[in-house]
């Protein structure tokens, strides 16, 4: 049994009782990384020297009450870390070794004494659903390395699943926390848009991006969110709301909870094993005193098209900053400045990033703006209204996180539209801006994890966590571990 089979709360007690030290925790991380990461490829950059020094420093402290005292964490590589290489898994930023500041979420983790172990692999600039768009080595699924870990936060999910860190941070624009959490059998939350500061998150689609935690249990997840949530004057889109205690919401009680199950989420195209696992989960909720009814999110079938127009448009604007002037890799072959922009970007960006920039530039270009971008924004309103209407009557929406368990490496990478369709159940949540969590709810016949998605009202993470936690308490899906490198 690994130390990382314990919850953060249990580890806190062990540290307090001097059963273990922070150095033991950091050791556990690097030992496991050296054991399995040449197969999993979850990490792009390790920060071993600083982490060990930090552990020593923390072991000398008498007050161990910080919320994440000594807890080893992995950070997705699109979250800026001061002095620690931050690449977004892009060749363009392969030499961005010395970022000038920490993202607000990283500041907050450090303020609560978490220890950064390293930076986690991802699809380049968070564009992708399989990690195959990492311009370094793609991450593999720890449950079966022939399969993808999901994306774009594939490294964040795989590192937690493989027992390399106790928790990680990811980012979710269209499912990039929840989909890999589902594929790797861990807990991943996309908070309400605006709950967590985006300052220091390399922007992909600014109206959709949110940072959130990936953990082995709901309780740990709630604990990390308590640390990273909150208004930040450095991000004017972060919401000025009071942050309640999320861990206190974990009562195990869902009596009288009203669950909505959209028929579109169990329709054709959803794998029978996934559907079965979700229906089983609903039975568990019934046995706990909750009720569920079938509802409709009539505009959800338009979500994928809406999302790709909006997110690519925003991305084409956001990625204009990569010009080879202030940071990143500049092409050596340029004759003049415009040529330098073009060559640096073309040599530095991978194919999917170029495809999204091209799509977004097209959708925003003169003559097409109203037909595509503005039309998509109007459909977005209808998608959001669908959720608003359901939440007038129900407490949560439940369905699968993904239509299928993890797919094989190479299976979908050749056809962009097939890859995009994989996000059909997670994308509507980003468009509506509501919170959603994925928790493990079973294994397929092939032994791959299946994720249950629980969606809540704006800023009602408490109910989302309470619902997720009650299921976790009543089942043991979250205790299953991949067997890579021996049990972990």
């Amino acid at each position: 049994m690994s130390l990382f089979d314990h919850s953060i709360k249990e580890i806190e007690a062990k540290l307090h009782n001097k059963e273990i030290t922070v150095s033991d925790l950091v050791d556990t991380s690097y030992k496991r990384i050296h054991e399995v990461d040449d197969k999993v490829h979850a990490f792009l950059t390790l920060d071993e020297e600083s982490a060990r020094a930090k552990a020593k420093e923390l072991d000398g402290e008498t007050d161990t009450t910080a919320k994440l005292f000594g807890i080893p964490a992995g950070i997705k590589d699109n979250i800026v870390t001061k002095g620690l290489r931050t690449t977004c898994a892009s060749q363009f930023l392969r030499n961005f070794d010395d970022p000038l500041y920490d993202a607000t979420v990283v500041d907050k983790l450090h303020a609560e004494k978490a220890v950064t172990i390293g930076k986690l692999n991802m699809d380049e600039f968070a564009m992708g659903s399989s990690n195959e768009n990492s311009s370094f080595t793609p991450t593999r699924n720890p449950w079966n390395t022939d399969y993808v870990p999901g994306g774009s936060s594939g490294g964040s999910a795989a590192a937690v699943a493989a027992g390399e860190v106790l928790f990680s941070l990811g980012s979710d624009t269209g499912g990039s926390i929840r989909q890999p959490a589902a594929f790797c059998g861990v807990v991943g939350l996309k908070p309400t848009y605006g709950l967590v500061s985006r300052f220091g998150l390399v922007a992909f689609a600014s109206s959709l991006d949110q940072i959130g935690p990936l953990t082995r249990s709901v309780e740990d997840n709630a604990r990390v969110l308590e640390v990273i949530a909150g208004h930040d004057k450095m991000d004017s889109t972060s919401a000025n709301v009071d942050i309640p205690s999320y861990t206190e919401a974990l009562t195990g009680d869902v009596k009288g909870l009203k669950i909505a199950v959209p028929k579109e989420y169990l329709a054709e195209g959803v794998n029978p094993e996934v559907k079965e696992a979700v229906l089983e989960a609903l039975k568990v909720y019934e046995s706990l005193g909750a009720t569920w009814e079938e509802v409709s999110l009539p505009h959800s079938k338009y979500a994928v098209a809406t999302y790709y127009l909006i997110s690519s448009s925003e991305a084409s604007a956001n990625l204009a900053r990569f010009d080879g002037v202030r940071y990143g890799v500049r092409s050596e072959n340029a004759e003049n400045m415009i040529d330098m922009f073009k060559k640096s970007r073309s040599e530095g960006f991978g194919e999917e990033v170029k495809r999204r920039i091209m799509l977004g530039t097209f959708a925003l270009s003169s003559g097409y703006y109203d037909a595509y971008y503005k039309k998509a924004q109007k459909v977005r309103t209808l998608i959001k209204n669908d959720f608003d209407k359901i939440f007038e009557e129900y407490d949560v929406v439940i369905g699968p996180t993904t239509p299928t368990p993890a797919f094989k490496v190479g299976e979908k990478i050749k056809d962009p539209l097939t890859m995009y369709a994989n996000d059909i159940l997670t994308i509507p949540v980003n468009l509506a801006g509501v919170p959603g969590i994925s928790i493990p709810c079973g294994l397929s016949a092939e032994g791959l994890p299946i994720g249950l998605q629980i969606i809540g009202k704006h800023f009602d993470e408490r109910t989302v966590y309470r619902t997720a936690h009650a299921f976790e308490q009543a089942t043991d899906h979250h205790k299953k571990r991949p067997q890579i490198g021996g049990a972990n």
Binding site: Y193, G328, N336, K354, F362, Y372, A376, K378, V379, P416
Partner: protein
């Protein structure tokens, strides 16, 4: 609509400051055509009188006082730059010689 030409793709690449090969131009013509064709399904949706959503939260522009404060030094700002001279970013000449 939905038919996107290779010429359009090259024009868009120029707007996006991307240099693409003939092969890439063909691939992106195919890709963009099928993605845009897929997106045409939004035309089925009646959006008359529907306001576009740019942002899900009810936020208005947020103002702060325009006050200088210590952030980073010139040296720090330059330390990740591909090229610099005399404390400034250096770029190739704007016009070719």
């Amino acid at each position: 609509m939905a038919e996107i030409t290779k010429e359009q793709v090259k024009h868009v690449a120029n707007l996006a400051r991307l240099e693409i090969s003939e092969e890439e131009a063909e691939m992106f013509t195919d890709n963009l055509s099928s993605i845009i064709q897929f997106a045409e399904q939004l035309n089925e949706v009646d959006t008359d009188g529907i306001e576009p959503t740019t942002h899900v939260l009810d936020l208005k522009n947020i103002m702060r006082k325009d006050e200088p404060r210590q952030w980073i030094t010139r040296e720090e700002a330059l330390k990740n730059a591909p090229d610099q001279k005399d404390g400034q970013f250096r770029v190739p000449s704007i016009l070719s010689e």
